[in-house]
Symmetry: D2
Subunit: 404 residues, 4 copies
């Protein structure tokens, strides 16, 4: 075993850390509280600095314009960037674009790549991913209702999506739709590239989420597809491969999420420490003198460290063995890390008292929005079921081999 | 022991329950998402119905225009009203006005009562309470910085307050200020009646709290007192009695809060049940078929029931023995109930999934704003310290008497 | 609502409290660490004092030689007695005899009562209750395997029981056995009075439980019924009524258990306080000066108080409405209280450090044996299911009535 | 980063796993429930097989007769061995002997090594470590009371120790005693090698711990030193170095403990899975079909995996940087892992129901004795304080460097 990092990676992470603290954190509240459009130029200027540093789009191969980080390195960078809600956006590896880039890189035709992937990597266009539907449990793909029917050389899409993150301002949406109701469950759906200015595609609203309607990149929309006709060549990948491709997208995505959450949790812990160290509670004591606060910090630190160690180990395993072989481990880090995050955030809110309730610091924003970590991309309960099934099977295997 | 309720109280609670479900719950989201001013007439019309039913201002004696509920009855009503954020407002017993009415009823001169108490009871004016300050830990009164100096027949107030709830639209503010820095700690402060249009009194802003800037009744403001001169007769009660009066206000206030939280928690549990019973997770199952959801509901129900039983018992004890005798018990219900509430809300968010994150239901509003329950009016940690001190003393007493 | 207690009950509880602290607690470790037989005379002498005080067999009516406490009073006494593992035994209301007395009082024929009930009430005989079986989940009665077949004027019993508490030294066992495999599930079983010296009845061993094999009253046995022939008149109640009668036994039994657990929890909290107040951790501080210890005590006190209030309320409801009407509430207090107990015990062990691990104090005994509280008499999970079903049905009723 | 293991280490771990499951687990209950002396020959025969395999005393260098594992490898082996309470004993790396061997290896004179270390490494003698005292908080070394006074060429020791593990049957005890009351706190104590047959050294009793008095290796004794005279050359290391040497002993010891706990936790999880997979709860379902059980397993698996990843990372850091540099990290794994262990054990007890309460399986033994994990070697609270201090200092450093 060897937990050391290469000298060059250490340098890159150090630069990113410094950049996040010095250039991103100071503007995050302003950006989050404004209309996104008004902040675009300031964001673009920071993005330019990242590009110049060679850290832009770290998840993509060097050959196509990314920084070519492997999954472990990406995780470590994601931890740094996660300290601010703007971090990933400014480094060009923000959800949902990062996942979409990976999808397009793997499955798009050359001409699709030229049209859709290149502007994403260049950072000149944003995109969204339309999978979740309001009336169906996202964890059960067999309930998907949006349909795509082939009509001559066009697909006609009908259905409703919601929690389509960052749809506001996106150039296109990758839409998941049923193309064959009668196929085996996991071969029913396909993915489509739908330009957001296509007739029949309508962004109905930005859903108000935990107090924020949001705008631009920081929003989650409800989308209607009403006889939306798109050319046949806008099918992404093979017909019927929708779920398989979505899995491909989710695997590394969960690693990214988990490492980002580690970064969020670290931010929260640091805010707790900084605040309580200067908050007078009497003429002779500050809040951090209280054993309860010390316990919060020590518990948070341990939980974060444990989650971090497990996520990095899992990232390494995915790199070595592929996502499928460690699917149970990936489920494990999903719920474990999301719960650590929520617990840590809650302690920080409590430690900051009334101030923690206000939007004068970043903490309330994180407390509200990161609550979703235990829900999106498979709620805790679904992932625990995956892990339990795996444990049951392992034990059965152990029994079988013991008896044979 | 006798846990039965009088027939008349049962009828009153039943009417209130029906009224909350039928008339208040359906409009709550609209009111919360609008500018408060625009909703005033609709609210007033509901308030009128409550007045006609004889349930208006239930915490105030019949003689001064209230419904004359005792503390236990008030608790039971508060539980019903707590099911909607609008409940107490529509029944004329909302914080901070309810506490202010009690203060004025006990300590105001007849002329002060005429000027300030009567419009509050009539519901024609709202008020606020300026105690908490941004730069001082509220739990330590010796840190209070706002000062009032007598200058001829006027008091001159200087200082800054925040989390002054419902200041937006209030007619006056009861301000706590230091009148004698050299007095013993708990005799340093006094209370003042400050009209909100008084020069020198300025509402700087509504503080953005967990995603909401709020407006009117549903807001929390930052207030500046800059050489604000008020007549000497605006002193409320005796000079130096500020903290003692505040305690008077807080005692029953904590009972009200706790019973309101029980109502909030019940609402959350009911939303969880209603949602999961209809949410399909497969062709043959709804979400409430899952044992995990059943466990959430069963745990929530038990915790709510236990908190409720303890709060009612404490309300009865306060009635019998006075607040001072059961101060430790009141601290106990404060943190116990607030934590039950937060846990129950968290389970409901999880059970409702993505929908629970949106402001399309009341749950996200409750999740965000009721997080403050563990903070305001003394954070958990302060109340636990009160209880521990009491336990330590009890044990010492037991030891002393055993040894004598 | 009225939480006051009659003067006479207060006096009785006060006497019991004094007696437990002065006469029972000091001998409990000696009794628990000895062979039970050797301690009988000392126990009998204490029992005699209770009889003289008129508090013997408080759960039984005055008419048959008990003290005639109602369920609420019994609960309050049980709380006092629960502070020592010997409390109930010395007051003649210990499980399983107390439940057996109730069964015999309700269902036994006069001649059965003379033979079996009278010596129990007199305290000259002990008994046991044979229901749980090693190879079947106790929570599912349809899995019961012990059988009783009528052969002439005798019943022949075959099967195996375990966790038959206090069988060691008991005069008879009430055995639950299937009498009609083909009847509806809840009418398959009947109860039988089996003398422990009956041929075919064999106590195989005392099961080692959490480190203790135990002896006499403080033991749990495994029992074999091997063609055990008992006269037809030893059938208790009606054939096929086994489960219904068991429910009758369990209802008040759960109230007793819960109030006893409250007593155990109080004992643990008091031990924590007493220990930490005198344990030096430095030249200038004792352990109870630590905020963490204060938090443990405050949390434990609140949880105990809440559980207590809910259990008393439920006892009162059972008295008013009968067990069946509040079955869900009784399930609720079972798991809520058992979990409070375990949490409180765990905190006390931690607070007492190495000493808490030893059997030099009562805490390790309680920590080990009361772990069963979450398991016996229906594990948490089964009771939560009962409560959830009740909640689901209530909501459905609410919906039905809303729609009609 | 590289999480891979060498082929040879994988083979060694595989052999150990097989050996534990096949040869050790089947005899563990018999050994634990018997007098230790009666089991010595069976244990010795297993130890011989380990020696032949070259895995004996893995923590000691090859040069002195050990297997020469580094700290990470040792951790991984410890995880395997921890699955049975006999594992470490049979591999010659059991506490307290393992720590004592390390002490003697580092600090003993050649002649001391010949007399004391060689028989330990050979497995022909056992030892104990006398540090903890009954009347003093072990976490505060300044309270140590046992004294050693030089009298001519002898040291005279007086004091009392307890929780001296495995003293029953040990050949010598390493005793910590104050040699200079007036020295700075951490230089007051020294270590002494005391043969257990030395006059003045008396093993008073085996302390009953959680139901077990124990015997031989599996015991914890109370020891009296009453004018115990030992030759001057029995001083171990330098006078005044007692605490420094104890730290040396504790550092790797905590890694060992944590990895052993991981093994215990895995054992518990496996028992839960195996039991619930075969336990019928109805004609058509087994216990592991219940979502609650699945959640327990999934949570346990994730917590174990996270603790494991963090402990291994910390072991690697200790190897690279030395114990002192990662003291805070070592404290972190201590409380994090101990709490995971307790939680996992508790779930297994609950899942196994009544059977989990009995000593018919290993679970009750583990539940009882491993409760000490949160207490010995520094209770949770002390380690959290260490971590908090470290976090506070780090933040202060960050602030200092930011301001400079």
């Amino acid at each position: 075993m060897d937990f050391s990092l290469s000298e060059s990676l250490q340098q890159q992470l150090k630069w990113a850390e410094q950049f996040v603290q010095t250039n991103i954190v100071p503007i995050e509240l302003k950006v989050l509280h404004s209309n996104f459009t008004d902040q675009k130029s300031e964001i673009a200027s920071l993005q330019q600095q990242v590009k110049e540093q060679g850290l832009w789009a770290p998840h993509m191969p060097l050959a196509v314009g990314g920084a070519g980080f492997d999954l472990v390195a990406l995780g470590l960078l994601s931890e740094v960037l996660g300290q601010s809600p703007l971090g990933h956006l400014i480094f060009g590896c923000q959800a949902p674009d990062a996942g979409n880039m990976e999808l397009l890189h793997h499955f798009a035709t050359p001409s699709q790549q030229q049209q859709w992937l290149q502007p994403l990597i260049a950072g000149t266009m944003r995109s969204c991913f339309g999978m979740t539907e309001p009336s169906n449990a996202g964890s059960n793909p067999t309930l998907l209702q949006t349909e795509a029917k082939l009509d001559g050389d066009h697909w006609v899409l009908n259905g409703r999506k919601w929690f389509t993150s960052s749809a506001d301002g996106a150039g296109f949406c990758i839409v998941m739709a049923v193309t064959d109701k009668t196929a085996p469950h996991h071969q029913r759906a396909s993915m489509f590239l739908v330009p957001t200015d296509q007739p029949g595609y309508q962004r109905l609203r930005n859903i108000p989420v935990m107090g924020d309607v949001g705008s631009g990149y920081f929003s989650h929309s409800e989308i209607e597809l009403d006889n939306c006709r798109i050319p046949a060549e806008n099918l992404l990948g093979q017909q019927g491969d929708g779920f398989a491709m979505a899995q491909t997208r989710l695997g590394p995505g969960r690693i990214h999420h988990c490492m980002r959450w580690i970064g969020v949790a670290k931010r929260a812990l640091n805010e707790l420490i900084a605040y309580t160290q200067q908050r007078q509670i009497s003429r002779h004591a500050v809040l951090s003198d209280m054993q309860t606060v010390q316990t919060w910090a020590a518990d948070s630190a341990a939980e974060i460290a444990a989650a971090r160690a497990l996520v990095l180990q899992t990232a390494w395993q995915v790199q070595q063995l592929g996502f499928k072989a460690v699917r149970s481990e990936v489920s494990m880090i999903k719920y474990f890390t999301a719960n650590v995050l929520q617990t840590v955030l809650d302690r920080t809110v409590q430690g900051m008292g009334a101030l923690g309730m206000t939007d004068d610091t970043i903490i309330a924003f994180l407390y509200r929005h990161e609550r979703a970590a235990r829900i999106y991309d498979g709620p805790d309960e679904v992932h625990k079921n995956v892990v339990a099934k795996h444990l049951w099977a392992e034990q059965s295997n152990a029994l079988s081999s013991a008896q044979s």
